[in-house]
């Protein structure tokens, strides 16, 4: 009767001598060529983490009542906070532009029986969503509507 083979049935008893050279970082890493934007893209992780925690603090204070909300609004005016939020905005735009350029290229040829739309259409949809949601959110938060 047929049965499943052991997944390591063909594994040699002792590891063979590899002829592969040990991995080395390219000379251009981390600040030259294409590695600089790659490293910066990863480094925006720190900004995202800090801005997420900062937003969490603001939301927490909103739930704590008018006094805490007044205090956090005053603190957000501090030049360091403003500078950090400026850097955060630059990081968010950088991540958006880079990711939205990558996203259409990462699509499979078919999702089930359906082929995804052409790359320019996906890119246009992503930018329309980004600009649309950011625009509506900005107008609502700034008091334009509601």
């Amino acid at each position: 009767m047929a049965r499943a083979a052991h997944p390591e049935a063909m594994k040699p008893r002792t590891p063979g001598r590899t002829r592969t050279a040990p991995p080395l970082m390219p000379d251009e890493f981390p600040t030259r060529g294409r590695y600089l934007p790659y490293v910066l893209f990863d480094a925006t992780g720190l900004v995202y983490m800090l801005v997420g925690l900062a937003a969490l603090r603001v939301v927490w204070d909103l739930g704590s009542g008018p006094e805490a909300w007044g205090v956090v609004q005053e603190q957000l005016r501090h030049p360091l906070y403003v500078a950090f939020h400026g850097i955060s905005l630059v990081s968010v735009i950088f991540v958006g532009v880079r990711f939205f350029r990558l996203f259409p290229k990462a699509q499979p040829p078919k999702i089930g029986p359906i082929a995804p739309p052409p790359e320019p259409v996906i890119t246009a949809m992503l930018y329309a969503t980004w600009i649309g949601v950011a625009g509506v959110m900005t107008v609502i938060l700034a008091g334009g509507i509601f």
Binding site: V92, V133, M137, A142
Partner: protein
Amino acid sequence: MKQLLLRIEPMIWLLFGQGILLGTILLTGWLLVVGLGVPLGIVPAEALSYERAHALGSNVVGRLVLLGLCALPLWKGAHHMRSLSIDFGGASRDALVATVLYAIAAAGSAVAVIAVVRL
């Protein structure tokens, strides 16, 4: 720990991907108004008076937006900082680094849930 990280990797990738996509989309408007517009006086402070901000944030849509705004960037941040750590020679300490970073993201997400529930 490495085995556990491998097992939960699909969930981490889901949260990381949404952190880039939704986090970026939501953070743009937030930073323009809450982070820069009101503090710099470009947007009148009354737009974010307590009563108005609470009314905007305490409905169902507002809570979901605020939850995504707080929690998802933490996962994007954690995963990219892990990747940065590996690239800078930290493969041997990856399990520890990943555990600490994902623990921060998970704890922050849990606090974010509490924060939006108590609005």
